[in-house]
Each structure stands twice: as C-alpha cells, then as structure tokens.
Amino acid sequence: MKAFHYGDEEISNKEILISVTTMIIGAGILTLPRGVAQSTRGLDGLMAIVAGGVIAMFFAWICAKLSSRFPRQTFMQYSIRLVTKPIAVVITALFGFYFLLFTAYEMRIVATISKVYLFDQTPVEVLGLIFLLVVVYSVSGSRAAILRINLMFAPIVLFIAIAVVLMNLGYFEAENLRPFFTTNWKGYFQATKETSFSFAGYEILLFYVALSNQPEKAPSAAIIGVSLPLALYVLIYVIVIGVFAPESTAQMIHPTIEVAKEVEVPGQFFERFESIFFTIWIMTLFNTAAMALDLSIMCLKFLWPKIKKIIFISVLSPVTYLVGMLPENQLAMFKLGNFISYAGIGFAVLIPTLLLIIAKVRGVKGHA
C-alpha cells in the first residue's frame, strides 16, 4: 500500500535530545575513565569531566542555534547561503568523510570488544561484518525510524548503566577518591581534552535539527541532551574510581566494562554481568553507527542529489567495512579513534562557531 502520512515524517525534540545523548555516550563511556585517570589523581578527574561537559554544552548550543536559525533548511542549504557554494561543498564532503570514519571506527570497536568479552574464536572480521549489515538494514529504512530507535533503546541502555552503578555501591571505597585537588594544571588540561573527545557527537544537531518540528526549541533540547551524558559520566567515573582507584583505572583498556565485571547479580541468576552489560551496550553503539552512516549518506546526497540512496548505501558500506578493518591492532585502532576525535572537535567546534559568527555578522536569517 502507498505510504500514508498520518503524522508526518517529522520528529520532535525528544528524538533530537535522545539522539544527542546516544551519540555522545556511544563508545566514549567505555574508555573515558582511563583517559581521565591517566592524567589526574584521586577524584580530581571529575572536574575535568564537568569542564568538558560544560564546554560541550556550549558548543552543542551553538550547533543547535545555528541550525535552528534556518528552520527546515538542510545543512547544505544554509551553509551555501553563509559561505559560497564551493566552500559549502568542501565542508559537506568533509563531514561525509568524517561520519564514514566514525561508522567504521564504531563497527571496529563493537567487533573488537565483542571478541574480548563474548567470543574468543569468531574472527573480528565476521563480527564487524554482521554488525555493519544490521546498520545498513537500519539506514535503508526511513531516517525518522533511525532516530526513533534511539528513543526506544535509550531507556534500556540508561537502565543498565544505572544498574552497574547501583550494584557496585557495595565495592565502593571512599579511600580511593582521595587525595583531592592534587593534580597540576597540565593534568587538568590533558584530562579536559580527553573528556571533550568523549563528549563529541553533538555535531549531528547541524543535520538533524532540520527534521525537527520545533526547531526554535532545539537549543534547549541540545543542552539537556548533553547534560544527560554528563550526569552519566560523572556517576560512572565516581564509581569506577571508587572501586578501582585511579592508578589501576589508568591501566585498564575498558574500565567501564571492567567495573560491570565486579557486579554480582542478586539471586545468583547469572554471572559475568559484563557480558550482559556489553551486549546491551551494543544497542547504543548500533545507534551511533547507524546515525553516523545515515549522516554520511545524507552529506553525499547533498552533493549528488540525483543519485538514489540505495546506491550510496551499496558504495559506502564496503568502504566503511574496509576502513574499519584497516587498523591491524588495538593500538592502530586507538590511533584511528584519536584521529576521529581530533577531527570531531574541528567539526563540532570550529565549523559551527565560524558559521554562526558569519551568520550573525552578515545578519543572514531563516527565510530571506
């Protein structure tokens, strides 16, 4: 039957908010405590997390503000009006490439961690492939559905994260949190940089706010969307440091999963809670990967509007797969991750800020 638009394909700010949250927590939360604990002492890293979160909130607000200034206009449309067409094309292409790398990295993380915590024999290549296939299936559907799935999964994911925090309270040792305020400025700076990476992901606002039915309220949604992961990061960090102490946290690859390992489910119903935790966490990783691939396709579609979506999908998915499988080991993978993080900061901070300044200075507005 022909599609019938009863409600529209429009999405509300609830979806936007949760999508920002999902995109930010993504894989970042799994490694965040390590990066912070490496350069801070005691609970001092908390300040870095809060600082990173506040910075992220500010730039998320900028992204939302910029795109809500041009309601219902795509990123390409308003960037052409702000900075001539050639520059807009370059920026969009770069975004497309960045999101492609993001998907690839996300896929690789899922495959690698699954191999560590769920299987030891199935090769990473196969695990990555089936994950990517599911992502492709999702991207072939409607865009609104991708954002709706975020909304469906968020409660489950947040629930399991809170469960990890609560069930670890028994192992929490206040002794591990001390001493306070002994980190030097360099350490704080380093840690803040590290957390800013974990907060990257709000750049999706530049693209998805165009779909919102209330773009004028998007900036406040963006701020709430960043504050949820901030709260979650703070909780997780406190519990990880309280359970492991900063020194050993700095040595773990995925401290957040390790802390889930400590959990003993009451009633002894099942053991190895970390496997369950990571299994559920795959939902978030899937959400971020699906959004990233969708955005990558969206960017390419801006550049070649006449080509069908299915063609982009069939071209991009093998490329994504190859890029994701390129890093040979964990170290190379983290290098790719770092590269993406730096690029992400550039895309999430520099470009929106510059565009918003240009918009303000030139006084360009929505319906001119």
Partner: protein, 523 residues
C-alpha cells in the same frame, strides 16, 4: 521461453475480454411481468431455489410477480405480508385501484405491503443484486419501477462466546457470520448518534457488504478518508473472510506482524471506536477489523480495563515478559549453553551439562526438533475435533516430552525451555501477533547458534528497526514508545487507574481528545 509466456498472457487477456462481455448486466427492465420473469430465469438458468410467483392483483387485471430465492428469505413474511396482502387486502381498500401501473405500484407500497424495509429499483442490475442478497422483488405489469422488499431470513449461528478471545471478565457475546447481528452488537455497545456505518460492496462476484464504522467527531477524518481510499482499491472476485480485506489494505505484506487488529469481540471494536480508531465488518465473517494498530496493542487485552488497575497493570507487565520469552528463550538457551556457559551460575551450568550428557545433538538441533514438534502438536490440536484436540495437546506434549527425554534425544532442560516458550506464546492475547513472534523465533535460534548473545542482540535490534519502520495507516508501529507520546504511556505497560485515563490516545490525533469531562474529577 519468453515467447510462450507472451502468448499465454495474450490468450488470458483475450479470455478476460470475453468474460467481461458476457457479464454485461446493463439490461433495462421490461414492462411485461412475464418477460421479466423469463429474463431473470434465463440469467440464472432457472435454478430450483428461485421462487417466482406470478399472480393477478385482486380487483384488477394487472398481473404481478414476486421473486426471491428459497433459503435466503423469510417465507412466512412473504406469504403473510406480501402475497396474502396483495391478494386479499387490496379488496379492502377505500377506493379501488386505478388502472395505471405506476399508481398501482405506489398504492401497493403505501397501503398493502406491510413490511418495514422497502425500496425501489430501476435497473436489472439492482434487481439481481437484491434477489441474490436475499431480498424479495415485486414486479407489477407495466410499471417502470420494481419494489424491493427486505425480508432476509436464513439459518445462522446464534450469538456465542468468542472462541479465540476468551476472557475471565467481560461480555461473553461474540460476533457471528451475520452482518446485521454484528452491527447490532456495536450499536448495543454505543448508543451514539454519531456512530457511522458506511457500506461498501467488495468482491466482483461475491459482492459482499463491507461496513466501515467510526464515530464522527472523535475519529480523525484523514484516517477515515485513507481507509475509504484503500477499500475502494479492493479488486478481488471473492472475499470469503475479513482476512482478505486485511491483507489487501495493510501497509506492508512483507512484515510478519499484523498491522490490523482482528477481533471477535464487539466490546473490543466499540472500545477501539471510542478511542478514535476505525472498524471494518465484513458480511459472513465473525472477525471484525480494527485499525490502526501498534505493537503495544497486540499485547493488550480488554480485560486490562475491566479488572482493577493493579491487576490490569500486572497482567500487562506479565505479557511483555511473555512476549520476550516467546521470542528469545530458546535462542538464549542455545547461546548460553553453547557459547557462554560462564554466564550461568556454575551449579546450573553443571546440571545442564550433566543433563545433556548422552544427547547426541548440539543444543540448536535439539531446540529445533522440540520447537517443531511443539508447533506440530499445536497445529494438530486445532484441526482435531475440540474434545480430542485438548487431550492430544496434553497427552502428546507429555508423552513426547517424556519419551524423548528417556530415549536420550533431548535433555530435560530443553523440554522445560520449550514448554515455557510455548506457554508464553499462548499467553499473548493476539493470535496473529503471537504467531509472528513464534515465527521470528526460528531464525533467531539459527543466529544464536552461530553468533551467541551477539547474534541475539543484533536480531533484537533488527526487529526493532523493522518495527520502527513499519506503519499501520500512517502510525509507526512502535508508537507510543517512539515517537513517544508520554500521555499514552499511562495505558501502555502500566494501566493507570481509570480516573487518570482522561484522554483518548494522543497518537491517534483525534478530533475530540477528552475522554472524561468534569465528572472524572473530584467535586
């Protein structure tokens, strides 16, 4: 090869053209009664069940004819109220009938034929439809018009308790095969003058009535318009069951999930209409359709609202659990026992391993064999006569389970898993949704056998993607979870107290959003 196809297609098209020419009913009505009777007899090839009674109207020399089909009409009514009145009562009229056939016809309609349901027809097409659908036709010699007298009466099943949707508490009457009984059921539930019934004819040959019902002023007009549009596209020769209509107008035929609810319960339809949904009733089918539908509504039962809210809520929670178990339990067993034995407590892991000792198959084969057997038993139980069906279910289940374990083909734990899965899937109120989940179980078992928990979570994600993309009459199947209508969450997993359910479902975007007015608040 292709030439053969092409020739075949040309031949079929030629045949179609001939058929459509031979069924041209646009013949006008003759003036002569005799000719009309002959004509109708010819069209139908004078069957035995066609009653044609030609006689002269009393006190005139005009002849008339009563035509109907034996078995479809109420014979007493025809004898007492039509034939007898025309033969006798005409003589008791104040003034004699005039000689003009048109006036005679009008007099007969006004004063003689004492039947409530009466109308006029001008074309043979309408006349034929009336005869074939059980009405009685009265021809008067020389008149242009034909009287169609409603006197349907055929043997039909009485109102019984719905078989597929039994409830502990709630009205026990169910729909029947009789369209009028069914519409009357709905009227009995809703004495609202705004309740609308629109009639459509579906099926080129069967020409069955399909009734679209909704409550004007509540329902969103766009929804009604869309349902109307989809019904008008129906082009089938026969529509034996409302399932045909359902499959024709649903959004996606590739999805395993039902996108239109079917029910045997008038109260369920009435509740749906009051919520702002649209109902469809097909003549000859005891299953009414209610649309749009969401995933959540397949886990809801009318009983949730009839019982007190705590009971209703806990039953709902139970059903969500049941839906999860019915879909994932066997695959979880496969994944945990063959990939992640470390995740189950070691004592349990040992006892599972111990019970599997001597079982020659891997867990997945074991699970497949048992699940298939169970589905066979279920199917056989439906086909067999009722009393035997129930016993075969219990006996077959027990005997096969017991024998399979003692023969060492399956482990006792597997039998428990299969049994719990089966019970969970039968706990779901919607039969077709339960079947959809049961079908999904098999591919998930395969995936679990190859990728363990990782595969299960990916299949869970895929089901969610599908549900988020699927729509039922424009409403995403995942509503009200996402797009989230927080107000509708009061009647979702938890059924809030009745006084708190003040609005109709927000997702249906009804014209009248309030369910309760001042009366709901404490004065």
């Amino acid at each position: 090869m292709f030439g053969l196809f092409r020739r075949n297609r040309a031949r079929i098209q030629q045949q179609r053209k001939e058929v459509s020419q031979s069924h041209d009913f646009s013949i006008t009505i003759f003036h002569s009664v005799q000719q009309n009777v002959e004509n109708i007899r010819n069209i139908m090839n004078s069957p035995d069940d066609l009653i044609t009674r030609v006689f002269t109207i009393a006190n005139t020399n005009h002849s008339c004819a009563v035509i109907c089909i034996d078995g479809l009409v109420d014979k007493d009514l025809i004898n007492d109220k039509i034939i007898r009145n025309i033969q006798l009562q005409v003589s008791q009229l104040d003034r004699p009938l005039s000689s003009s056939p048109t006036i005679i016809l009008r007099e007969l309609e006004n004063a003689v034929v004492s039947v409530g349901e009466i109308s006029k027809a001008f074309s043979l097409d309408d006349v034929m439809y009336a005869i074939l659908s059980g009405d009685t036709v009265l021809f008067v010699d020389g008149a242009d018009e034909v009287l169609i007298i409603g006197g349907k009466g055929w043997a039909s099943r009485g109102v019984e308790e719905p078989v597929t949707e039994a409830l502990v508490r709630g009205p026990r009457d169910g729909f029947t095969e009789n369209l009028r009984t069914n519409t009357a059921h709905i009227r009995r539930h809703l004495r609202d003058p705004n309740l609308r019934f629109e009639t459509f004819k579906v099926g080129r040959r069967s020409k069955k009535s399909l009734i679209l019902c909704y409550i004007d002023g509540i329902v969103n007009p766009a929804l009604v318009e869309e349902v109307r549009r989809r019904i008008n596209t129906i082009d089938l020769d026969d529509v034996p069951e409302s399932g045909y209509v359902e499959q024709w107008i649903e959004d996606s035929f590739l999805s395993p999930f039902p996108q239109i609810q079917h029910t045997e319960r008038p109260d369920k339809v009435a509740t749906g209409l009051v919520q702002g949904r649209v109902g469809l009733i097909l003549d000859g089918s005891p299953f009414a359709l209610v649309m749009p539908m969401t995933f959540a509504s397949s886990l809801q039962s009318p009983e949730d609202h009839y019982e007190r809210w705590l009971i209703g809520s806990s039953l709902r929670v139970l059903r969500y659990g049941a839906a999860f178990l019915a879909t994932f339990l066997p695959s979880l067993y496969i994944a945990l026992s063959s990939y992640h034995p470390g995740m189950i407590p070691s004592d349990l892991a040992f006892s599972i391993a111990g019970s599997r000792e001597g079982v020659p198959f891997p867990a997945v084969v074991e699970a497949f064999v048992m699940e298939l057997t169970l589905e066979l038993l279920r199917e056989a139980g439906i086909r067999l006569p009722k009393p035997i069906g129930q016993t075969i279910g219990i006996v077959g289940g027990l005997v096969i389970g017991e024998a399979a374990v003692s023969a060492g083909i399956v482990s006792p734990v597997m039998v428990i898993v299969v049994a719990v899965t089966a019970i969970s899937s039968f706990a779901l109120p919607s039969y077709s949704a339960a079947i959809a989940l049961r079908m999904l179980r098999f591919p998930i078992m395969f995936v679990a056998a190859t990728f363990g928990l990782y595969g299960i979570i990916l299949s869970y994600i895929m089901i969610n993607i599908h549900i988020a993309n699927l729509k039922s009459f424009g409403i995403p199947y995942s509503t009200p979870f996402a797009p989230s209508y927080l107000r509708d969450w009061k009647d979702l997993v938890i059924r809030a107290p009745l006084t708190m359910l003040k609005t109709r479902p927000e997702m249906l975007k009804t014209k009248d959003p309030d369910r309760m007015y001042k009366g709901g608040r404490r004065k």
